[in-house]
């Protein structure tokens, strides 16, 4: 049920179903102009990017985008009270039902798309009734309560339109229309004549608007601020007769000024389909004339022409509105989107902050492991376990001898006379799938294996069939009878955990070791599975979020950071020793030309 007071009193939090940037921006502009402290829109359910960037006033803000309702955090689902659905007509029914099922605090919504089947609109109307919510539309540009709420394109999408129509101050005239353009036309006519609206609702041009004229008119009747109702209707449909009955039975008492368009149909041999879906009179009752006559008989002031309708509106007494809160009107033409966006750190007005905290206190009060883990994850970590594990891994991976390819490259570059940064870069650029980059791939393996429900045997067989090594398994030197002492140390961090991923990795190791003694869980594989377990159990990461960390190479980040220390130390060491240019001798290079014959 559409109830103005309920909307005004609500904690208005809006989610978009589908994205329509111009409309979203216009809602934010409306709210900013009306002096709201924060935007009402808390998210967008749509495919595409993870955030959309908008302006609140001149300040740029990011609105999170969720792929589906499944990805909307519970906290958000529980605070949303309204939705604006802008997906196409064929998806209106399924997406609206999904929204209603997912939003326990829902008060109502607007459906924007044209071409929603009638049957779907009627089914949605029934759902609304059972759930006690309202829906404006289908094919509605929305609802508007000046200064308070704009849900849809209603009132315009350009900030100048909002200024011109004086939409930040609430008045006493309620505006209703079957047509979106006309809704806005009426708002503008009233504004130009010094009148202000109490609220406006566009039913949509479909045959069965879910919020009916009667329901909306009753909302105006019950709204203490509304003194007059203005209605633009069209031929087609019979919803006006319910309004007449409500007037005649004394339920609707406030004065109504109306126009029913479509007299022109009389000059056609057979009533054609006009612009809106419902605009076709099949029976006498549905003609513009019949509806005008019925409304007149019920006591509505009906304009015979649009001009007369406008003149009737001019006669509505302008009522002194409450204190003008003073709309915030700034020129917005110079707004520009930022070139980059970040969630890590800021430096504003000479004050540097990291993850929202002053840089100095952040660095003084936290361990290096905590800082690295938090920055790499983009948010402050919660658990001691992760902090300690990261600290340990950073130390453990710091160097592994001068033989490994990254260290060799650093040393060669250093001996070629290059500087610190070049030598370090040459070492780091060596990191990849065969050297140092295995942690990330191992994490991908354990994540896939443990969540797919495959047995360790099946998992190993799959790799064997595809003839690829399992990252995280196998060592050059250590064997099952001579285990790598680092691995048991790493795995010890899961003592207090359920350790789903580590257990899976270990059971894979059992299978591989039975094939060959050196196919043990190695350092990369162990770091990957323990990290997965800690993130999932101690930091609350979902499988989906862990997959994302794999996609963005988070698991390799620790190696890159830590091993940089090793590369730098090799560079400095070489400079101190001053060994001179490195060159291979003839005996160091084998002749492989016979291979090519």
């Amino acid at each position: 049920m559409f109830d103005v007071e309920k909307i005004i009193k609500a904690d208005r939090k809006v989610i978009l179903i589908g994205s329509y940037p111009a409309i979203i921006q216009s809602i934010l502009d409306f709210e900013y102009m009306s002096g709201h402290k924060a935007p009402s829109i808390v998210g967008v359910v749509a495919t595409g990017r993870k955030i959309e960037r908008y302006f609140f006033g001149k300040k740029e803000i990011a609105i999170p985008v969720f792929k589906s309702f499944k990805d909307v955090p519970d906290k958000v689902k529980h605070e949303v009270t309204f939705f604006l659905n802008v997906v196409s007509g064929r998806r209106v029914f399924s997406s609206t039902v999904e929204a209603i099922d997912n939003l326990p605090k829902l008060i109502g919504g607007v459906i924007f798309a044209e071409n929603t089947p009638e049957k779907h609109a009627l089914d949605l109307a029934e759902i609304c009734e059972t759930k006690g919510i309202f829906l404006a539309g289908p094919a509605s540009v929305g609802i508007l309560i000046p200064g308070i709420f704009k849900l849809g394109a209603i009132g315009g999408v350009e900030y100048k339109q909002l200024v011109d129509a004086k939409l930040s101050i609430r008045g006493n005239v309620a505006v209703f229309s079957a047509s979106g353009g006309t809704t806005n036309e009426l708002i503008n006519i009233l504004a130009q004549n010094g009148k202000k609206i109490s609220f406006a609702l566009h039913f949509g041009g479909d045959r069965f608007p879910i919020t009916t004229p009667l329901e909306a008119f009753m909302a105006a009747e019950n709204d203490p601020d509304t003194t007059h109702l203005v209605y633009f209707g069209e031929l087609g449909g019979v919803d006006e007769y319910a309004v007449c009955e409500a007037i005649q039975t004394g339920k609707l008492t406030k004065p109504i000024i109306a126009y029913i368009a479509g007299n022109v149909a009389e000059i056609f041999p057979e009533s054609p389909q006009f612009g809106h879906a419902k605009a076709m009179a099949k029976t006498q009752k549905e003609t513009a004339r019949a509806k005008r006559d019925a409304m007149k008989a019920a006591g509505v002031q009906v304009g015979e022409s649009f001009k007369e309708f406008v003149e009737l509106m001019h006669r509505i007494p302008s009522r002194e509105t409450r204190e003008d809160r003073g709309a915030i009107i700034e020129k917005m033409d110079d707004r520009r989107h930022a070139l980059i966006s970040t969630s890590v750190s800021k430096d504003e007005g000479g004050k540097a902050t990291v993850l929202g905290e002053d840089l100095l206190s952040f660095s003084k009060n936290n361990s290096f492991g905590y800082i690295v883990a938090s920055l790499f994850l983009g948010k402050k970590i919660k658990s001691k376990e992760l902090e300690e594990f990261v600290s340990f891994v950073l130390k453990l991976l710091v160097d592994h001898g001068p033989y490994v390819s990254g260290a060799v490259n650093t040393i060669i570059t250093s001996r070629a006379g290059r500087d610190l940064v070049s030598s370090l870069a040459s070492g780091i650029l060596t990191i990849g799938p065969r050297f140092g980059g295995a942690i990330n791939q191992a994490a991908a393996n354990w994540l896939d294996g443990a969540s797919s429900g495959k047995t360790p045997q099946e998992f190993v067989e799959e790799y064997a069939k595809k003839k690829i090594y399992i990252s995280g398994i196998g060592h050059r030197k250590y064997r099952s009878d001579m285990p790598d002492p680092r691995v048991s140390e790493i795995v010890s961090y899961t003592k207090e955990l359920d350790a789903k991923y580590t257990n899976f990795a270990k059971s894979v190791e059992k299978v591989t070791v039975s094939k060959k003694g050196n196919l043990i869980l190695n350092v990369d594989g162990a770091i990957a599975c323990v990290m997965l377990d800690i993130l999932s159990e101690k930091e609350g990461y979902s499988e989906e979020q862990l997959k994302e960390l794999v996609d963005i190479e988070f698991f390799n980040a620790l190696f890159v950071l830590s091993r940089s220390v090793g590369f730098i130390s090799h560079f400095l060491d070489q400079k101190r020793l001053d060994e001179g240019l490195f060159r291979l001798g003839e005996e160091d290079v084998a002749d492989a030309s016979s291979q090519n014959e």
Partner: protein
């Protein structure tokens, strides 16, 4: 464009298939189908009916149904004769002789409250003359179906329930069977008129937009067909209907509601007979779409032989349709025929508001004055319907 008429052929196919009786009639598109189609389909010894299948009411009284055709030549001749009245789509089916007293009436309609059944034991072409015999019932459950079936004397069991089911799953909005002949072994549906919800095309596989019929199909102008094609491919709405090809008042309107109010205004001012077209674009069409739309409208305007013509570019204060972008499309189309517009001394009156209205209106004003086109350009300060009075005045003075 929701409620549309479905071809009788398609409606009968859907209804009969659902009832388990395959339908043997066949459609004939006079402009496209070869006559051999009739030769191949007709069975010797049977007699046939040929009738117009374009959603026309009262066909029998207008002579658009030919009965008792005994061979393919009869059928071809019957179609040729009716075709003279500008009809293109026909339905040919077996002729079923019956007693007029066995003609019943039933129709279903989707309303806000549910499906309403109208029924009468006295059906046939004169249904309207005994409308007091028509019962009306809001369908709730099968007891309502029993009541209707009883009143009509239909067997077998479940006929009415099946009608309700097929009505619902095929997204019908209206279905009328008149007459329904009940004396035969199974209920026989002689004539069916059906409307479906065109918005549901995606959800059904029993019908498609190819099955939509319009009484004007045979007389549509190329321009109307072009706009229809344009609209089908667009996420915006674009419509165009020619009322009077030699009209003087051409309307290039935007917005479903305001366009209707402006057309009303022409009728209110007593100039309905001069109105050349109705149509509107809305839902933020692109510049290209607006260009194609305008091009087709201007083509009609130029062809009209009215002595004095006026073009009204009218619309309310749009919520989200960009005035600057759509006006660019309009200007592009006008530029292509500008010499002709000047030669015919076409006057142009503009009233529009919405996103980027200042830029759009200025572009239009500069363009019209540069090309010395008479008329005027207005923003939201002018009451929208006033543009009609201004435009009509300009013709009145000249005439």
């Amino acid at each position: 464009m929701p409620r549309v008429k479905l071809s009788e052929f398609r409606a009968k196919t859907i209804v009969n298939n659902y009832m388990g009786n395959p339908y043997s009639g066949f459609p004939f598109d006079a402009g496209r189908d070869p006559i051999s189609k009739i030769d191949n389909a007709v069975v010797q010894g049977k007699t046939y009916v040929a009738k117009v299948d374009q959603g026309i009411k009262k066909r029998f009284k207008q002579g658009l149904v030919k009965l008792d055709l005994k061979n393919p030549t009869d059928i071809v001749d019957a179609i040729a004769e009716i075709r003279k009245k500008h009809f293109e789509y026909f339905l040919v089916e077996e002729y079923v002789p019956h007693d007029n007293n066995d003609e019943k009436y039933i129709s279903l309609e989707r309303t806000r409250k549910g499906i309403i059944i109208n029924y009468s034991h006295q059906g046939g072409v004169d249904i309207e003359s005994h409308s007091d015999e028509v019962g009306r019932i809001l369908y709730k459950d099968s007891s309502d179906a029993h009541k209707v079936a009883g009143a009509l004397g239909v067997e077998p069991e479940g006929f009415v329930e099946k009608l309700i089911e097929l009505f619902d799953i095929n997204y019908f909005s209206f279905l009328e069977i008149n007459p329904l002949v009940v004396s035969l072994k199974k209920p026989y549906m002689l004539d069916i008129a059906a409307e479906v919800d065109s918005a549901a095309e995606f959800f059904v596989d029993t019908w498609s937009s190819n099955d939509f019929r319009n009484s004007r199909t045979g007389v549509l102008t190329e321009e109307e067909k072009n706009v229809h094609k344009l609209s089908e491919k667009s996420s915006s709405s674009l419509t165009l209907t020619v009322l009077n090809p030699n009209g003087a008042i051409f309307m290039l309107l935007s917005g479903g509601g305001v366009s209707l109010a402006l057309a009303d205004e022409v009728a209110n001012l007593g100039k309905g007979d001069l109105l050349a077209n109705y149509g509107e674009y809305s839902g933020n069409p692109t510049e290209e779409e607006t260009y194609i739309y305008t091009k087709n409208l201007l083509s009609l305007l130029i062809k009209s032989n009215a002595p004095q013509k006026v073009l009204i570019i009218g619309g309310g204060v749009a919520n989200f349709t960009d005035v600057r972008v759509t006006f660019r499309g309009i200007i592009h189309a006008m530029t292509e025929v500008m010499p002709e517009l000047q030669r015919q001394n076409v006057k142009v009156f503009v009233r529009r508001g919405g996103p980027h209205q200042d830029e759009g209106l200025k572009d239009m004003e500069d363009y019209l004055s540069y090309n010395k086109i008479e008329g005027s350009v207005h923003g939201p300060k002018l009451v929208v319907s006033e543009i009609v009075a201004k435009a009509l005045e300009s013709i009145a003075i000249d005439n």
